[in-house]
Amino acid sequence: MRSFANEIRDGLDQALAEDPGVLVFGLGVPDPKGVFGTTLDLQEKYGEKRVFDMPTSENAMTGIAIGAALGGFKPVLTHQRLDFALLSMDQLVNNAAKWHFMFGGKRSVPITIRMILGRGWGQGPTHSQNLQSWFAHIPGLKVVMPALASDAKGLLLSSIFDPNPVIFLEHRWLHNAQTEAADTNKPIPLGEANLLREGDAVTVVSVSYMTIEALHAVDVLKEQGISCDLIDLRSISPIDWPKIEKSVKKTGKLLVLDTGFKSFGIAAEIMAHITETCFRDLTLPPARLTAPDYSESTSPALTKDYHIRAEHIAARIGDMTDRDVSIEPILNARGAAHDVPGNWFTGPF
């Protein structure tokens, strides 16, 4: 068994080995913890010029990644929280996203920006933002959100070798997720969603960590005779509309799951688009389960009902299918406190 973090690390390792143009940098990249284990030993292996720590200068380092890309390199920049990358929106949006366009296709900017999405254990308002809808709204950025450990490496490789800037969002609660060692030397094309479960009751569209909760919910409901399509988007820009549309044409019901704030979030676009293209197929209004429109607080007492979990998803599918569902099996399977990914986690980050 290998963890999501191992797979990310191996993806970086493979990219560095394959292509001398790949650079990996970010705060803490060569440190003893190696960004939650994802960059361990890479500096020793590839040297300080290709793998390096950096000053707390998120905006300039993004511009420096762009410049290095223009100089022929393929930089991978890591932010330990998405929240810190808010400092770099100018370089990201005004330069990276637009360079190829605004210079008439003269030069692409092959950079990958890893951002980690925080949650739980008192992360609080500025260490837990999931702003994927910002990036997806910007023409010229690709946005990748892996959920399964088995997808992490393949998606990362595609991101690194994509000629465009790619925002690669890693949910902190996934780093410890396990997978059978998959043959993931092959890149997974960006824009291909993954139909993880098949059924005809409801189309559940999900990203990143929400997919883990959704899998749980969908599997439990299956035992209760309700089977759903579960589509893990993997990338939200480009997004796999055909797969979603095909499923909705079958089920007539759409439930979108997202880790971000509700209003003006990615779920809205998915609901709007599917309503535009599948209006006559829908038997119910499309629904969403997302984070609410307020920040995650620090006190655990204030986060108990903040995040969508498998029981909420199951209950909602029950509502949408007019079926009584039991969430007991989900609650009973729950081992850890609500603010940690598992009992192995004892803080602080």
């Binding site: 950096m54 008192g122 006190s299 204030l302 602080p348």
Partner: protein, 329 residues
């Protein structure tokens, strides 16, 4: 140095140390469920600032703010309750260790984004400038903050407008596990680089509280007299891991001689040793002081632990304010 000041500095350092070490001792109970950055070993800078700043001066800080908040006079009970996520916390449990506030004593807030409160502090300085008077705005920052663009932007503005702003940089040579030399050119010290701006700069041994006090007192006097912003750099050393209650020197990111040299230079013993030697303090006073602090700190933990958690309904409160909280000018 007067006996009063001697006692005040010793008390300030011991109080911070005791709070931090009590947090460390109790953290493993898993009841303080938030990222917590302790200042053990770095008490001198805060204690000196605490002896010099008024409640009407305004201060801001970053992620490692316990010492600054306490030195400025922030309520200990409210801080510990905040770390415990209780409704009696200074931010009602919303913010945790990294979001301390006590406006009654001029501690205007600490936040978790490196460099994030620097311009806020300068904006406070702007408000003080308009209002007149000789209060100052004080910005506590770490060595990593000088790498952020916003620091330079804010410093330029403070200099341009000759604002009453004191920048206090605690250089503990590390940002998380990253040594200064992978982040900044070290041929010049930080304060030497900042001196380019043409403002008052100075530096000192951050583990020598008397030296810190002298350097700071000089700068504050100049600022209060209308001399404009000043930048002070104090070298010091964090004892425990960057974030959390443990020691992590087994990880090997800091050289052994450095660890030994700096931990041997405990700011409290250094200061008290001299004061005891030349009779400005006697051991009995220290013991009494410590006992009083222990009582206060234990009471604060009791207060926190016996406080209620915020009710679930508070989770979505405070997104928008219904009315101005500051009142008219």
């Amino acid at each position: 140095m007067t006996p009063e000041l001697t006692k005040s500095l010793a008390h300030g350092m011991r109080r911070i140390r005791t709070v931090e070490e009590t947090i460390a001792a109790r953290y493993s109970e898993q009841e303080m469920r938030c990222p917590t950055h302790l200042s053990s070993g770095q008490e001198a800078v805060s204690a000196a600032a605490g002896a010099l700043l008024r409640h009407s001066d305004l201060a801001v800080s970053g992620h490692r703010a316990h010492a600054h908040y306490l030195a400025k006079g922030g309520s200990l009970n409210a801080m510990i309750a905040e770390i415990y996520g209780r409704v009696t916390g200074c931010a009602r449990g919303k913010g945790g260790s990294m979001h301390l506030i006590d406006e009654a004593v001029g501690f205007m807030g600490s936040t978790a984004i490196v460099g994030g409160t620097v311009p806020v502090g300068v904006g406070l300085g702007y408000s003080l400038m308009i209002k007149g008077g000789d209060d100052i705005a004080c910005i506590f920052l770490g060595d990593a903050v000088v790498e952020t663009g916003v620091f330079h932007e804010a410093l330029n503005f403070a200099t341009l407008k000759n604002l009453p702003v004191l920048f206090i940089c605690e250089n503990n040579f590390y940002s998380v596990y990253s040594p200064l030399e992978v982040r900044q050119p070290t041929a010049r010290e930080i304060h030497e680089k900042i001196a380019g701006y043409g403002i008052h700069t100075a530096s000192g041994d951050g583990n020598d509280v008397a030296a810190v006090h002298a350097v700071m007192s000089d700068a504050i006097t100049k600022i209060r007299a209308g001399g404009g912003p000043a930048f002070l750099e104090f070298s010091t050393f964090r004892w425990r891991e960057h974030c959390g209650p443990n020691y992590d020197d087994d990880l090997g990111y800091r050289p052994d001689p450095m660890i030994e040299e700096w931990t041997a230079r405990d700011p409290i013993s250094l200061f008290e040793g001299k004061a005891l030697a030349d009779g400005r303090l006697i051991q009995g006073e220290i013991d009494a002081m410590q006992q009083e602090i222990d009582t206060e700190v234990n009471a604060a933990f009791d207060f926190a632990r016996s406080s209620e958690f915020p009710p679930a309904e508070e989770a979505d409160m405070h997104v928008f304010a219904d009315q101005m909280t500051g009142g008219p000018l």
